[in-house]
């Protein structure tokens, strides 16, 4: 079973030791999760490296409370909002963690049904059925 959302928590060092070990052990074996982990880590690093931009006056409709904040506080707020969006995005299946189930049997049946019409070399049909 892939760790999925646990990868995000792993990067944030929020996992208990047992889960941490389990994730590390899985990632060693699974190329997909290794890629996912690298992607999350890279995203975190990119976020840390982002320059803090000063919003142009009047370019954003910010709530009055935000406008009244001093510039330094505003930068922190924008960075925090971006972080939350990224973490939530990565954690909640931007990359398809919320999967749609597919019936493999139904797919195989459709393939062999079509294959059975192939008029030549029907001897191979027997092997196709043996897929079951």
């Amino acid at each position: 079973m892939h760790p999925g959302d646990l990868l995000s928590a792993y990067v944030d060092s929020q996992l208990p030791p047992a889960d941490r070990l389990s994730v590390e052990s899985h990632v060693e074996e699974c190329g997909d999760c290794r890629d996912e982990l690298a992607s999350i880590t890279s995203a975190r690093q990119s976020l840390r490296d982002l320059p803090l931009l000063e919003p142009l006056a009047g370019s954003l409709r910010l709530p009055a409370e935000v406008v009244e904040l001093r510039p330094g506080h505003r930068r922190v707020l924008v960075a925090a909002a971006a972080t939350v969006a990224m973490v939530v995005g990565i954690g909640f299946g931007v990359d398809g963690n919320q999967t749609v189930p597919l019936q493999l049997d139904a797919v195989v049946e459709q393939h062999v049904a079509r294959a059975s019409v192939d008029p030549g070399l029907n001897v191979m049909q027997v092997q196709a059925v043996a897929n079951r």
Partner: protein, 303 residues
């Protein structure tokens, strides 16, 4: 000049399948028998094998196992289990042909057995497939499929073979109305992959099925949503095929299934093609890759 013409003619004649041998193989698919079938596959991930009860009659082949029975033939697929009956019917029309890279020839009987006729299919200079057909029923007693390296990839043998009694194999009166599959177009699957050609394509569970054949082996590519779990195949270990990672592969004795994702879609390939053909085919299909972070965030935020 004469030599050149002769060589060209010899090459052309040599690439044509011998009609009577093709007829033999076709007849093997129509043979009527009851038996047990052993299928062994020496897959790259390990050896898989099973034995099933098998019955063939009226153009239909039925396999019976502990979980129910499954029958195919003439475009029909009938799966019967405790969950009920699933009945699918397809009616494509296409002219069958054998890939011109194959040559069909009568095989030499090296075992001295007198009960079968041997038909071999050569690909270039090596034997790709070999069939021993029963002299009486034309049933495929032994089928062998070889890899490009000459190693046996799949072996099947009919054992305890007997002629079946003259009674209907299936009681069609209890069948529900069959599901029909209408033609559809896949957005990203090419018309050819390796030396295989796309014969036709249909609406399928979760997407579109594109059926490929080379006249000997067949496979289908199902183009589905990127979020598809590939029927559980996404949980199989990720493997490299042809130097590219991101494929999830599973072998059964009779077929290989591969699942992979691209930034926009996912694909399930199901078929009986040997590993070297699979590698060539995958090289021509969309390759596994992940969407970049910005796209992923955009998709998450805006769908």
């Amino acid at each position: 000049m004469i030599l050149t013409v002769t060589l060209i003619l010899m090459t052309l004649v040599g690439s044509l399948p011998a009609p009577e041998l093709i007829d033999d193989l076709d007849q093997a698919g129509e043979a009527e028998f009851v038996g047990r079938q052993l299928v062994v596959c020496w897959a790259p991930d390990g050896v898989v094998a099973h034995i099933t009860d098998i019955e063939q009659s009226d153009g239909m082949t039925m396999v019976t196992g502990p979980d129910g029975s499954f029958a195919i033939g003439e475009g029909k697929s009938i799966a019967s289990s405790a969950d009920g009956i699933r009945y699918l019917e397809m009616s494509p029309s296409m002219d069958w042909r054998l890939w011109d890279g194959y040559v069909v020839r009568e095989g030499a009987n090296q075992t001295g057995a007198s009960h079968g006729r041997i038909v071999e299919i050569l690909e270039g200079s090596f034997i790709r497939a070999s069939f021993v057909l029963d002299a009486t029923t034309a049933a495929p007693l032994i089928t062998e499929i070889y890899g490009r390296d000459g190693a046996l990839y799949r072996y099947s043998s009919l054992i305890a073979l007997s002629e079946r009694e003259d009674e209907p194999m299936l009681d069609m009166s209890d069948m529900p109305e069959p599901e029909q599959r209408s033609p559809a177009v896949a957005a990203t699957v090419p018309a050819a992959a390796g030396h295989y050609w796309a014969a036709d394509s249909y609406v399928a569970p979760g997407g579109v099925q594109v059926f490929f054949t080379d006249g000997l082996f067949r496979f289908s590519v199902f183009e589905v949503s990127r979020k598809s779990d590939g029927g559980g195949l996404s949980n199989a270990d990720s493997v490299e095929i042809g130097g590219r990672g991101g494929y999830h592969r599973m072998h059964t004795p009779g077929a290989v299934s591969v699942f992979w994702r691209t930034p926009d879609r996912a694909y399930v390939l199901v078929g009986d093609l040997p590993p070297d053909h699979l590698e060539q085919v995958l090289a021509d299909l969309p390759v596994p890759s992940r969407p970049n972070l910005l796209k992923r965030a955009w998709r998450w935020a805006f769908g």
